[in-house]
Amino acid sequence: MAGFLLKRLLNYIALTSVATVLGYLLISATLNPEARFLGRNPPVPQAAIDTALNRLGANPDVPLLVRLGNWVTHLVTTGSLGVSTRGTEVTADIFARSGTSLRLLIIGTVLGAVIGVLIGVWGAVRQYRASDQVTTYASFVVFATPTFVIAVVLMILATGLNGAAGTQLINFTGEYTPGLQGGFFTQLGDRLIHLLLPTITLTLIAVASYSRYQRSAMLDVMSADYIRTARSKGRTRGTAMFRHGVRVALIPMSTFFAYSFGLVLTGASVTELAFSWHGMGEYLIQSIGNNDINAGAGTILFTAILVLISGTLADFLYAALDPRVRV
């Protein structure tokens, strides 16, 4: 099992590295840091532009591969992703912002996976009954709704609720209320309320897709011989389903989890942006606007590492669930 996991991990590390390098090249090809200095009045002297671009490691006179080499060497030797166009360290920026993104991402993924799996199993066990029909159509509607529409609809509903209550029950702009006075619990409560709508948005998306896959994986399992064997041994329908069925049905889910992580990641960035959180999604979009190569490449590396972690977690889950891997 260790061999299997190690092999997969090495593959993921190779993928991450190649993706980051390609990402750097892609961003260097599309962004033009020099544009920030051109067309200004009074004109910026060429020497000043060159100095600034050299500091960013983005001088177009230096061949692209040399710039890439410098960036990679710098990253490997010092762990630094370079300087952003605003003069800050990209690594520090990412550390400051990743907490915001990760909090939303982790809560949304965990809630989504747990609720999704439960609804999926429930739907499969009660196939074609009313509850199954309702969850099926509900997930279709969620699938058909872009994330930003879910976010805005929730905002409209929350505003309606606030209006009906006559007080600001649900705050949904940003991560916390700026300048809020109060102790630890006031601050915590404020943050939790701000977390409410983004979490609902992301969880809805995750639940919709996980529950569909879990339902169909579970339906495949329910007619399997070993369920019948377990039943004939004297297990009740419930324990046969849970002890033997759900466990097997979760195996394909672990692969799906790794595949769908990119989707959840996109959903999380869109959610962040829709609710004006200062997370990694905003960082990426700002890096495009600022023609900031280092910040963009840093975001790519961050994303790739998240995908690496989620893929490795999925492999662990797979190995833990599937006895055949353990030999």
Partner: protein, 305 residues
């Protein structure tokens, strides 16, 4: 593409029955698809929405750009069925213009992604060995960075091009998962007798892929293309919502919604009615696609690779 024949199914264990009775199978798939109520709902709603998008503007009392000076920011009613914006432009007319573009984008990008998935997946599965490993690795690589991020990163380039470039790029970054599924199917198909026979007769690999592999995964491809239409519409609208997709003067539902999301809380009709149109369109394609899936593929849903 005449050889793509949606008549045979991948799940048939008996190759002969699929090959000898194409007419029956075709009839069977359609009959089974449309025995589901949601297939009818999906197909009819989709047809109506398409008709509405392209014929509706001719019958609408206002066009998308004129200002009605008597109705600034008016709620729905009074000739403006979806209300008007701040400068009196008719939201109903704007929604239809955006809907046209969204439908066109979905209808091109979805099937195009499926086409790529079909060929790449079939090549990987059929040739195996080094080709397979390289393709699978490339697929995994493309899955490392979410497509949305990649398109955001290259948006400075395609923003200057026409919307067709955007459509092609959406397709280019949406085929990966399906290609893996096709690859898996192809790997089992290539061991089947009719493919072996063709190979031993000296038929060229690409001819075998075109004549024997692709028709046998056609059902999967049809499902994917149908679902892909909705997925492409959502992808485009998300990109456009954040300003990375369709650029003015072109309008899609995504860019329309982007303009009105700021006012959504105070004047919900500006946002909700175009958004509902978008959701209805995508929902119709996914109902139809899902009914196809159930009719064709008994192992539907699970992502088995």
């Amino acid at each position: 593409m005449t050889s793509i024949d949606p008549t045979t199914t991948t799940v048939d264990t008996d190759a002969d029955s699929a090959a000898s009775a194409p007419a029956d199978t075709r009839h069977g798939v359609l009959r089974r698809t449309f025995s589901a109520k949601r297939a009818w709902i999906g197909a009819i709603v989709l047809a109506l929405i398409t008709l509405w998008a392209f014929v509706g503007p001719l019958l609408a009392p206002f066009n998308a750009t004129d200002s009605d000076v008597l109705a600034f920011g008016a709620p729905p009613g009074n000739g403006h069925w979806f209300g008007t914006n701040d400068i009196g432009q008719d939201i109903y007319a704007q929604t239809l213009v955006g809907l046209q573009k969204s439908i066109i984008i979905g209808l091109i990008a979805g099937p195009l992604a499926t086409l790529i998935a079909g060929f790449v997946g079939a090549i990987a599965g059929y040739f195996g060995g080094v080709v397979d490993r390289v393709i699978v690795w490339v697929i995994d690589l493309l899955l490392v960075i979410p497509s949305f991020f990649i398109l955001v990163l290259i948006s400075p380039v395609f923003k200057q091009l026409s919307w067709v470039a955007l459509v092609i790029l959406i397709a280019v970054f949406s085929w990966m998962v399906m290609a893996r599924v096709v690859r898996g199917q192809t790997m089992s198909l290539r061991e089947r007798d009719f493919v072996k026979a063709a190979r031993y007769m000296g038929v060229k690999p690409f001819t075998i892929i075109r004549r024997h592999i692709i028709p046998n995964v056609a059902s999967l491809l049809i499902i994917d293309a149908t679902l892909g239409v909705g997925a492409a519409i959502i992808f485009e609208s998300t990109l456009s919502y954040f300003g990375f997709g369709i650029q003015t003067p072109d309008v899609s539902l995504g860019s329309l919604l982007a303009g009105y999301s700021g006012a959504a809380v105070t004047r919900p009709w500006l946002f909700l009615l175009p958004a509902a149109t978008l959701v209805a369109t995508v929902l119709a394609t996914s109902l139809l696609g899902d009914a196809f899936r159930d009719a064709i593929d008994p192992t539907s849903g699970a992502n088995r690779d």
